[in-house]
Structures are given as C-alpha cells and as structure tokens.
C-alpha cells in the first residue's frame, strides 16, 4: 500500500469539471511532481490534498487514513505557497512558530523547534526580521522553514520557485532536492516548469484538462511518452514531432520524411514497433528528441540503430555547451543538438545522424503512441 493514495478524485465547480477522475499514488519518501500547462487542474489537485478545496467524489488517503473531509490543520500536512504567504505582521520566528502556537505548543518547545529549523535552513540571523526586510530567496527559505518545523507526514509545494529569478531558481531547486534527500520527507510538488519536474521528481504526473496524461518516473515520461501532448510538453528544447509516412525498404519498414525541393529522406527501421506495420502508406508523427538528432561524429557510439541523412541547415544557434541546428523536415522546423565545436554552417547540406532506437511514433488521428 502506497503512502499517499488518490483514487478517482473528481472536483466540480458548478457545471465545470476541473478534475476528471485522478488516480495517483506515491511511496513514502517519494517526490511527486504534478506538471502541466496553466489551467490543467494541478493546483486544484494540490489544494484538495491540503483540504483547502472540497472534493466532489473520490478518496484521498495518507498513510492508510482517509483524509477527505478533515480540516486542513488536522491532515498532518504542511504547505509552501507560490507567494510564500508569510504573515507580514510577524517576524520570521513568529511566522515559523505560528502553527505551533495555534496548536498550543509551549513557548520553550517552540523556541527549540525554531532554532533547529533555522540551523537546517541557515536563517538563524534572520529570525527577528519582518518578511518585508527579506530578499526573495530568504523569503523562500522562511516559507520552507514554516513547513519543515511541523514535521508533517506530507509536504505540499505550490509552484514555490516561480517568483524567483532564473539563477536563484536553480539554486533553490538544488536546495529542495538536497532537503528531500537529507530529511527523507514525502513531497507533492506543483509546477508548470518541466525542468523542475524532471530534476526533482521520483514520480511525475503530467496533467492536462483535469486528467492525468501519464504517470511514471522521469525517465519513463521522457523516453516513453504515451501521447503527443506528453512528448511535446516534456523536454527542452521540445521533441521534434515531424509529420511523416511509413513506407517499405526491402522487407523492413521505413520512415519517409518530406524535404523542401528535394527527394524525401527514407530512414530504414530495423526494429520498428509492432503496431507500426498497420500504418504502411499512412501518415504518422515521427518523434525524435534533439539530442537523438546530431552530427555523425557526435552520435551515441553504443546506439544500435543509427541512420544518417543529408539535411539542409537553415539556422545555427551556438548555445555554449551545445550547438543547435535547425533544418526543415516534413514542413516543420526540426532542431538537432550538436557538439559545441561541431563544424556546421547555415545554408549548407550536412549529414545528420538519427538515433532511431530513441525514436517514437504517434497516430496523428488519436494522438496516442504507436507501440
């Protein structure tokens, strides 16, 4: 039995169904990230776990106990809010101990708990300050301190990093990951940033329109997306999703990609997924991540199945650590990720290596994966 279990959870506001039957579970000490575009219901889902929103039907269990109708304070959870929600009229120490004060914890014990948390988060020197006297990163720390001090069964984070600038966000992301590793707490984390999801999670639930599109480990989500939406949403730069058709070369299937003003590319498939044979002569979506499309010298040595084809390079973007090259296949801009020192010029025809072991295929009609 998992530590956090959500069964068939539905949430309706009047006629509008915000959550359409969510089934998710998380083991003790796990890190679940709910990710999706805005309006997908991820924050609502978090609020229902916190008890700040009621649910229409379904069940939420933490450690075997059903918490559906419990008041937020009785659920043994702590929450970090997007705006940090620090009480502006109280000092940092007051903010951290407010929950304990409400539960009637004696002052001496409160002080001990404050000191312990302050040490973990290195905010000891800030305890007597008001939130308005803190920087963004410090406020973030205090907000986490307020959650940590409760030592709850479950931590809930609602887009905690979205108000920080880019550099600080990366620092705090590492800090949260370190905190999770050292304290071993169970965390549910909401974000719209797929990089945060990939880096932090032990389990990811990709959501859209109130439904979980895919639930799995970061590697599963990244390498084996179940549909077009997940493939497109996860990964940066995004996966290339190229309209293509299935043809034959010899007795194997091949993927045919249209090129501008030249004959199509035909990539022979040595170990095509079984479902693909039904699509002979039909259109499909061919998905290949930018790192699986590279210069032949930089291609993965141990990949079993690499096909090389000449491509017309339209734009070259040196990004420092990598060089991105944009070509046009199937009428769409396609991004290839090359080594930083790859010798490539825009406007030339250059051979690119397709790592076909990493390629995925989708049915354009249903947008689901062809396996």
């Amino acid at each position: 039995m998992a530590f956090l279990e959500i069964d068939g959870l539905r949430k309706r506001f009047g006629q509008v169904e915000i959550l359409k039957g969510i089934d998710v579970e998380l083991e003790k000490g796990g890190f679940l990230v709910l990710v999706g575009p805005s309006g997908c219901g991820k924050s609502t889902l978090l609020n229902t776990i916190a008890g700040l929103e009621t649910i229409t039907s379904g069940e939420i269990r933490v450690d075997g106990r059903t918490i559906n109708d419990l008041h937020p304070s009785k659920r043994d959870i702590a929450m970090v809010f997007q705006s940090y929600a620090l009480y502006p009229n109280m000092t940092v120490a007051g903010n951290i101990s407010f929950g304990m004060e409400m539960r009637g914890v004696p002052a001496a014990e409160r002080q001990k708990a404050i000191d312990k948390v302050a040490k973990v988060l290195q905010i000891g020197h800030l305890l007597q300050r008001k939130p308005s006297q803190l920087s963004g990163g410090q406020r973030q720390r205090v907000a986490m301190g307020r959650a940590l001090v409760r030592d709850p069964k479950l931590f809930l984070f609602d887009e905690p990093l979205s108000n920080l600038d880019a550099k600080l966000r990366v620092d705090m992301r590492i800090e949260i990951k370190r905190l999770h590793a050292t304290t071993g707490t169970t965390i549910v984390y909401v974000t719209h940033d797929q990089i945060e999801a990939m880096t932090l999670a032990t389990k990811i639930a990709v959501m859209r329109d109130g439904e979980v599109q895919q639930f799995g480990t970061p590697a599963e989500i990244y390498n084996n997306p179940t549909n077009l939406f997940v493939a497109d949403f996860m990964g940066s730069p995004a996966m290339n999703l190229i309209p293509a058709t299935i043809g034959t070369s010899g007795n194997a299937l091949s993927v045919v990609l249209q090129r501008e003003a030249r004959e199509p590319i035909s990539l022979p498939m040595a170990n095509a997924p079984a479902g693909l044979s039904a699509f002979q002569g039909k259109p499909i979506i061919f998905g290949v991540r930018p790192e699986a499309l590279t210069d032949p010298e930089g291609a993965e040595r141990n990949a079993s199945h690499i096909a090389t084809a000449d491509c017309h390079i339209e734009v070259v973007e040196p990004a420092g650590s990598d060089t991105f090259a944009v070509t046009n296949l199937g009428g769409k801009g396609v991004v290839a990720r090359l080594r930083a020192d790859a010798n490539i010029q825009p406007g030339t025809n250059t051979p690119l290596a397709f790592n076909l072991t990493k390629a995925v295929f989708f049915d354009p009609a249903t947008e689901t994966r062809i396996r």
Binding site: P72, Y87, F98, R146
Partner: protein, 314 residues
C-alpha cells in the same frame, strides 16, 4: 510636449512656459487655500478677542490683547438653553457616543469585509450589493421609522428594568445614537474593508488555515494587524461623520442631558437672551471642531506610515 515637437524652442521658450505654468498653478492654489482658510481665521481671531474689540474693530484684525476668557467661558459657563454650565458636559456626551459607535461600526465592517472576500458564500456579491444601499439612503427618509424602532426598544428597556432591575441601556439616548450610527455606518465600513480585503492575498488565509488557525484567530492575528491603512481611513471617516452629525443627534437626543456637542453648539448660538457673545460662540465652535482635527492629525500619520509599509513589501 511642445519642446519635443519644436526642438528649437526648448532652450528659451520651453523653460519660460514652464515657469509661467508653475506660477499660475501655485497662484490659483494659494488663492483657493486663502479663500478656504478665511472663515477659520476669522473664527480663531474672534475667539481670542474681547467683546469691545469685536464690536469696535475690524473682523480680520489680529486681537490686540489676546484673551483665553471666551474659551474658558464656552467650556465652563456659557448657557445652553436654560442651564449655564458651559459645553463641557455635551462635549463628553459626544465622546461617549462617538468612540463606541466608531469602534463597533469599524469592527463590524472589517468582519463583513473579511467574510465577503475570504469566506465567500453563495450570493455574497448580492449581499454586498444590498449593503451598499445603506450608503445611498438619504437619512431624512429613515428618521421616522427609526424613531418608532427606538421607541419600541425604549419600551422594551422599561419592561426589562421592571423585570430584572436593569434596562441594559435600552432607551438611553446615547445608546440609541450609538445604535443608529452603527447601523448606518456599516454600509460604508463594509465597503471600505471589502475593497481592501479583495486585494488582500488569499494565500495568507490558506496558510493560516493549514497552520490550524480558526475563523476568528485568522481575523484577529492575520487580517486585522495588516489592515492599518484602511482601519485608519475608516476611523477618520466614521469619526468625522458621527461627530459632526446633527440630524440624528437633534432628532433622537435633541433635548436633555444626553444632548451631543453639535446640538448643544446650536443651542449656544441660538440663545435669544442678552447680547450675542461672538467670541464665546466662536470658541465653542472651535472646541467642537477640535476632535476631528486631532483625529486627522494623529491618525493621518499612521495612515501615511501604513502606505509606506505596503510599498516596501513589494
């Protein structure tokens, strides 16, 4: 703007136009300020003059031998109707009425605003809309119905008095006025607080809920301490309105010992016996005006401070 379209004028003409604009603006402002302050000036200088000087001198002239006697007389000796013990009793009457009326209506407004924004219920917007009617009702139209209600309350007070030995203040004119001002103040105070709390971050309330704070704990520990600016605005507004009210005061406590300051002042000035003592009248009027001034001066500072705190919060 003209400097942008014709760069050549920027050096000479542009600057001159600017200066002339300033002179015109400040000149007009000074003129209106003078116009506005003139009556106050006349009141103030008259209240420090002797009757001789008033009758023989210029209204705008400064007092030749300033004297506090008119102020002392207004406070302690002048006749209000038939009793000649000054206005001090009526001054305290007003204080006794204003302080509870302001505090109760402000607190109720804060509570209403809190519920209407952070504990939304079905029809909250409609309830708020209906409460706004209280801001538009002309008070003359409620004089008689309210008199009937106060009369019933008074009779109930007598019944209570006979049954339990105390009327719980029902029927007392000061209590009646507090009641009337609270009822008619709630519309405005709710409007003020509701609009302030509308912009108040709801996440703070949610965080407090997760922390285990109850409905009233959130109100007292989170909402109220962060409401200083609107609290001060509401207090200034309510204090000024209730202190200056003449209509309700004269209708429900127009005679007798519970008469508020405004009615008493009217009686001082309208006295029909003897010489009209302008200096005493002016002093009495100044005394009547002082509390509202004081509230503004004292609370206005907190108001500005509150705004600054919000600005830094970011």
């Amino acid at each position: 703007m003209s400097a942008v379209t014709t760069p050549a004028r920027q050096a000479s003409g542009g600057v001159n136009v600017k200066v002339i604009n300033r002179i015109v603006i400040y000149g007009l402002l000074a003129l209106f300020a003078l116009f506005y302050l003139m009556p106050l000036f006349v009141m103030l200088v008259t209240s420090f003059k002797t009757m001789d000087e008033i009758q023989n001198g210029n209204m705008l002239a400064l007092p030749r031998a300033p004297t506090f006697d008119p102020w002392l007389k207004a406070w302690g000796e002048t006749c209000v109707g038939l009793t000649c013990a000054g206005i001090k009793g009526y001054f305290w009457n007003s204080i006794k009425m204003v302080v509870p009326a302001v505090l109760i209506s402000t607190m109720l407004g804060a509570l209403n605003g809190y519920v209407l924004t952070k504990w939304r219920f079905r029809g909250a917007t409609l309830v708020f809309g209906l409460m706004l009617f209280a801001c538009f009702i002309p008070f003359q139209s409620v004089l008689l119905p309210m008199a009937t209600i106060l009369g019933s309350l008074g009779r109930f007070g007598v019944t209570l008095q006979n049954a339990t030995g105390t009327s719980f203040g029902l029927g007392n004119p000061t209590v009646n006025l507090v009641f009337v001002h609270v009822v008619y103040g709630i519309g405005f105070t709710t409007l003020f607080f509701r609009n302030y709390y509308e912009a108040f971050p709801t996440e703070l309330v949610k965080a407090a809920q997760v922390d285990g704070a109850s409905f009233f704990q959130i109100f007292r520990r989170i909402m109220l301490p962060n409401s200083m600016p609107i609290f001060v605005v509401t207090v200034i507004y309510q204090f000024t309105n209730i202190w200056n009210d003449f209509l309700f005061a004269s209708a429900y406590a127009g005679t007798g010992d519970a008469m508020p300051m405004t009615v008493a002042l009217n009686n001082v000035v309208n006295t029909s016996t003897g010489v009209v003592e302008y200096n005493v009248n002016m002093a009495a009027a100044m005394i009547a005006a002082l509390p509202t001034l004081l509230v503004y001066v004292l609370a206005g500072r907190y108001f500005v401070r509150g705004l600054m705190a919000g600005a830094v919060k970011g």
